[in-house]
């Protein structure tokens, strides 16, 4: 028999049972007898949801059989098994309603349904109680376990496994007896509810689902399409059904799939119709939890970390002195490194923490050790571009541990573990636990699975370091190859608007945020991780002038995100609509009229510039989100960029910088000048506070003339 036939057969079977139940019940109590599950304002909720009928007595229940039968269509299209499946659940509700019509407490005498063996109908209050955490995702989803697991132990392992992940568990049929035998605590408060002795009681679960959709989704009765869209998008449920699966159960399963709830089963008979992510046959019951969560797209939040010491930003600046140190991983002396890598989800075992080499207690006190931390992450939305963003956060994650100090990144890290932390029981695996929990929580938008391996075996770490350096180099090469032309979008950054309300940064690959902290890659990651956050996508389709850096899209974005304060920004000019500044710029560049160039001063420099003004005096003209032609705040890394005031001729306009700043950008700036103008050692032509007297523009021009600085020969900027 094919799956279609099984579903048809199962739905017929349920329908005939329902018909018989109605007949028998009417004979017993008459057609005017009231029908109600009690404590609900939604009548028989499944029937109301899909037919809009409000059944209150046995005659109406009998009449409801007609539209239910009509839904069991037989045209051999997928829609037929979906409709038949949902109609099967409605037929099941008819049978349950008959039970309640005869006896309002068919599942036991206790007033509190949690005290009975089977819970049966759930009240509207219970729907709300479960519905709120389902909407907020505090309960990430629920599972319906149907019939008997292969062994009692496997039944308990599944129930507890789901419970420990915060998944609400409903039980139907034989698995309830297994749970009872094993002494599993059950009831609404512990989030494991034994609903009923057989598949017919599934209608109580569907009733809960549709009432949640009425209450929280404002879905209207009879709206088949929107009901199923809502349950698919908003109700994170799934089904686990054990073999042998009856035809009736298969028919109900088709209804579940129609509502967007995948079915995982170890039944292989007649399952010739596979639906990716919806009907999954997996004969290894022990794998069901991971398999089900992945099929329904449920990610589990990690709330607790198993670490013997505290973790909080209060410990972030803590210094561990040599005398207090248990051991040290010092990247300047030994091989050490940290690396985040993307892997295929199926190659990662979530929450696997491995240590290769000796643990902290096996090293001598005060020893300098080799240490490599490799974090492997995977997820549907994970991109290798996010690796460095996460990797850089390792520093702040580890530094927040009490009694642990962390500096640096990549292979230039230094980690010190204090004697106090060691005595509290801190070991290598706890680094893994911490990174696992932090990465899963902070990057849950892109990371589905994460595993951490820590190596302390010197030879292995050495090998890894060689490999890692290739990866770091490849990343750097990728970043340096990224140009404004090679990407399709820029990003906004409005992180600073709380104190500079009209400022908007436009982040491009060659022009990072003026604070120096947000690169294009960071902005991209921020946007993916927090789609409503400060970094929004700016397309660059409608170019106005690529040389000056004007795009209509960019103008629209600054207009929108400055709430109308700014209308135009030129990304590559400091004279024409320059980009505004919030106030947290690393550097300011300002026009120097005598030399026809610009001076750049960094925040750390306290002396005067040749303009006769200090950094702070210049800052007062530049910040606050206003455009001041001739003055602009920017990040340090923007200086050697080919886009730096490209409209005015580029970096050859730079005539003065503080020596420290000059030294820090010299290498890249020389390379840019060589590439753009063929000038060798361009930085030597730039004056600084050691070469010309402070605040003296005439001495500056003299120096530039002597060096043959190209700015002197350029067109005037004003």
């Amino acid at each position: 028999m094919g799956l279609f036939d099984v579903v048809y057969h199962g739905s017929d079977e349920m329908y005939f049972k329902a018909e018989a139940a109605v007949k028998e019940t009417i004979e017993k109590i008459g057609e005017n007898a009231p029908v109600s599950f009690g404590n609900t304002a939604y009548y028989l909720a499944c029937i109301k949801a899909y037919t809009a009928l409000e059944v209150t007595n046995m005659a109406q229940l009998r009449d409801a059989l007609v539209p239910i039968r009509a839904m069991m269509t037989r045209n051999n299209r997928t829609a037929d098994i979906f409709h038949s499946g949902i109609a099967t659940a409605m037929a099941a509700e008819v049978i349950e309603a008959c039970k309640y019509a005869v006896n309002p407490k068919p599942y036991g005498e206790a007033d509190n349904p949690n005290d009975n063996k089977y819970h049966g109908h759930m009240t509207d209050a219970e729907v709300r109680e479960l519905g709120v955490p389902l909407v907020t995702r505090d309960i990430p989803g629920f599972v319906v376990l149907i019939d008997e697991a292969p062994t009692d132990e496997q039944a308990v392992a599944l129930i507890k496994g789901y419970q420990s992940r915060g998944i609400f568990v409903f039980l139907l049929g034989g698995i309830i007896d297994q749970a009872v035998r094993k002494g599993v605590k059950m009831g609404f408060p512990v989030r494991v509810v034994p609903v009923g002795p057989d598949i017919i009681a599934v209608s109580h679960i569907i009733s809960l689902v549709v009432r949640a959709a009425f209450i929280f989704g404002n879905i209207q009765p009879g709206d088949y399409v929107n009901m199923n869209t809502y349950t698919m998008d908003r109700i994170f449920a799934f089904v686990n059904a054990f073999t042998p699966v009856s035809d009736i159960t298969v028919a109900c399963g088709a209804g579940a799939i129609a509502m967007g709830f995948p079915v995982i089963t170890n039944e292989t008979k007649d399952m010739n119709w596979r639906v990716p992510k919806s009907l999954i046959i997996n004969e290894d019951v022990d794998q069901w939890i991971d398999c089900s969560l992945e099929a329904r797209g449920i990610k589990i939040k990690v709330t607790e970390m198993d670490i013997p010491i505290a973790c909080s930003s209060a410990f972030e600046g803590e210094i561990i002195r040599k005398g207090d140190m248990q051991l040290e991983a010092d990247g300047s002396r030994k091989d050490c490194l940290e690396l985040v890598r993307t892997k295929d989800v199926h190659e990662i075992e979530d929450h696997k923490i491995t240590l290769v080499g000796k643990d902290i207690d096996e090293f001598g006190v005060g020893e300098k050790i080799c240490m490599a931390t490799i974090v492997e992450v995977g997820g549907v939305k994970m991109q290798p571009d996010f690796e460095p963003v996460m990797e850089r956060k390792i520093h702040s994650f580890i530094n927040c541990l009490e009694g642990i100090m962390h500096t640096g990144q990549r292979d230039l890290i230094r980690i010190r573990v204090s004697k106090a932390a060691f005595e509290a029981g801190f070991r290598m695996k706890h680094f893994g636990e911490l990174l696992y929990a932090k990465i899963k929580n902070e990057y849950d938008a892109v990371v589905d699975k994460c595993q951490v391996t820590i190596y302390t075996e010197p030879e292995k770490v050495h090998e890894l370091r060689v490999e890692a350096n290739k990866i770091y180099d490849a990343r750097d090469a990728r970043v340096s190859k990224l140009t404004d032309e090679s990407v399709d979008v820029f990003y906004t950054c409005i992180l600073c608007q709380s104190f500079s309300p009209s400022h908007v940064c436009i982040i491009t690959p060659e022009r990072l945020g003026l604070c120096g902290a947000v690169s294009w890659m960071d902005a991209k990651a921020t946007n993916q991780l927090d789609p409503n956050g400060p970094c929004q996508i700016v397309p660059k389709e409608r170019v106005i002038d690529e040389n000056i850096g004007i795009w209509e899209d960019v103008n629209e974005a600054v207009n929108k995100y400055s709430h109308g304060a700014l209308e135009q920004v030129s990304l590559y000019s400091i004279m024409m609509d320059p980009m505004t500044s919030c106030g947290c710029f690393e550097c300011i560049c300002g026009i120097e009229p005598f030399s026809n160039g610009v001076v750049i001063v960094n925040r750390e420099h306290t002396g005067l510039t040749p303009l006769g003004m200090s950094f702070s005096e210049l800052a007062s003209q530049t910040g606050g989100g206003v455009q001041t032609p001739g003055f602009m705040g920017h990040g340090r890394h923007f200086i050697p960029s080919k886009k730096f005031m490209k409209a005015e001729g580029g970096v050859q306009r730079i005539v003065w910088m503080p020596k420290a700043l000059k030294d820090s950008v010299a290498e890249r700036l020389n390379a840019t000048a060589k590439e753009l103008y063929g000038i060798d050692s361009f930085v030597d032509m730039i004056a600084d506070e050691t070469l010309t007297p402070e605040g003296d523009p005439e001495a500056l021009v003299e120096f530039l003339t002597e060096k043959g600085h190209p700015a002197l020969g350029l067109e005037p900027m004003m």
């Binding site: 505090d138 929280f216 709380s498 309300p501 409503n532």
Partner: protein, 314 residues
């Protein structure tokens, strides 16, 4: 040539949100002009003044008028009834300070009983304010939301930390209104509105609490944020910033030194009660001028004064 005033009426409007039920139901918002500019267009709905009542009786030392106003009240219900009778009061704000786990730590059941007592004492719309403890507020709001399911109250506030629970339990499950609280930042305000609507809360169920400060305590940030919110809502038709604004003024002004220093300590500052009322009136009028559609006040003199100001400007 005579001067002809040109009315500045925008094509966009502040969204209308209804609080409460029956005759006393209150509609906030609806304006198409800059705040209070009734000369540009007659107000569709006047800004509203509400009265704060706490489950812990107010400190009355040095506040004889306030003490006299509530004299003889024996229960929370008595005080709520008295508060709702203030001249100009359009709604009552129940402030459950006593739920604070760091203070009296009243149980959820106690708070529900108090809320029911208050609901029985007045038919004015109710605004529910918690104790600022995120976890406790979620618990009491969820329970009070069920208990007052027929009163259409406004819950203040849903914050970034708890908007999901409060949005789901109050607005979605019971159809009540929710105040989206942000800390004087237009982007965070908008982001919270976006997140709440993505959760499934109807925009018309959201009222914004943009945060406030007592006058002289950084109020310029409040004014500037409100200006920009109103500009985005009206000039740019930004639907995610068109929700009406409610400002719990009393929560700010009654804790600043002008309102708490006794006359004995600060004789040169003059009468303590007069100062407290002045702080409340000055801050409330500034909020209304900046764009608040409702303010929450404590003192009967303040309520009367602000209501009179609004009546004169209508």
């Amino acid at each position: 040539m005579g001067f002809t005033a040109k009315a500045q009426v925008y094509n966009a409007a502040i969204q209308e949100t209804v609080l409460g039920v029956g005759d006393k139901a209150l509609t906030l918002g609806g304006a198409r002009t800059q705040p209070l500019c009734s000369f540009d267009e007659t107000w569709k709905n006047a800004p509203a003044v509400g009265v704060e009542v706490s489950d812990i009786p107010f400190e009355t030392e040095g506040f004889p008028v306030l003490a006299e106003y509530y004299a003889g009240c024996e229960s929370f219900g008595d005080r709520v009834k008295r508060a709702s009778e203030m001249e100009g009061a359009k709604f009552v704000c129940l402030h459950f300070e006593g739920a604070d786990p760091g203070g009296e730590n009243k149980s959820v059941e106690d708070i529900v009983a108090l809320a029911k007592e208050a609901a029985a004492a007045t038919d004015l719309p109710l605004v529910i304010t918690g104790c600022k403890n995120v976890e406790k507020d979620q618990a009491i709001f969820t329970a009070v939301s069920d208990a007052l399911s027929d009163r259409n109250p406004l819950f203040m506030s849903a914050r970034e930390e708890d908007y999901k629970t409060i949005g789901a339990a109050c607005a979605m499950a019971n159809g009540h209104k929710v105040g989206a609280e942000s800390a004087v930042d237009i982007n965070l305000a908008k982001q919270l509105n976006v997140l709440m609507t993505q959760l499934g809360v109807a925009p018309t169920s959201i009222v914004m609490n943009l945060g406030s400060a007592a006058a002289g305590y950084g109020f310029e940030y409040v004014a500037s944020t409100m200006d920009r919110v109103k500009a985005a809502a009206l000039e740019q038709n930004d639907t995610m910033l068109q929700m009406p604004v409610i400002t719990p003024v009393a929560l700010e002004t009654w804790s600043v030194k002008e309102s708490i220093m006794s006359q004995a300590e600060m004789p040169e500052w003059g009468d303590k009660e007069e100062r407290a009322v002045d702080m409340e009136v000055v801050t409330a009028s500034a909020c209304l001028t900046s764009g608040s559609d409702a303010v929450i006040l404590r003192h009967p003199t303040s309520v009367k004064t602000i209501a009179a100001m609004l009546a004169a400007l209508a």
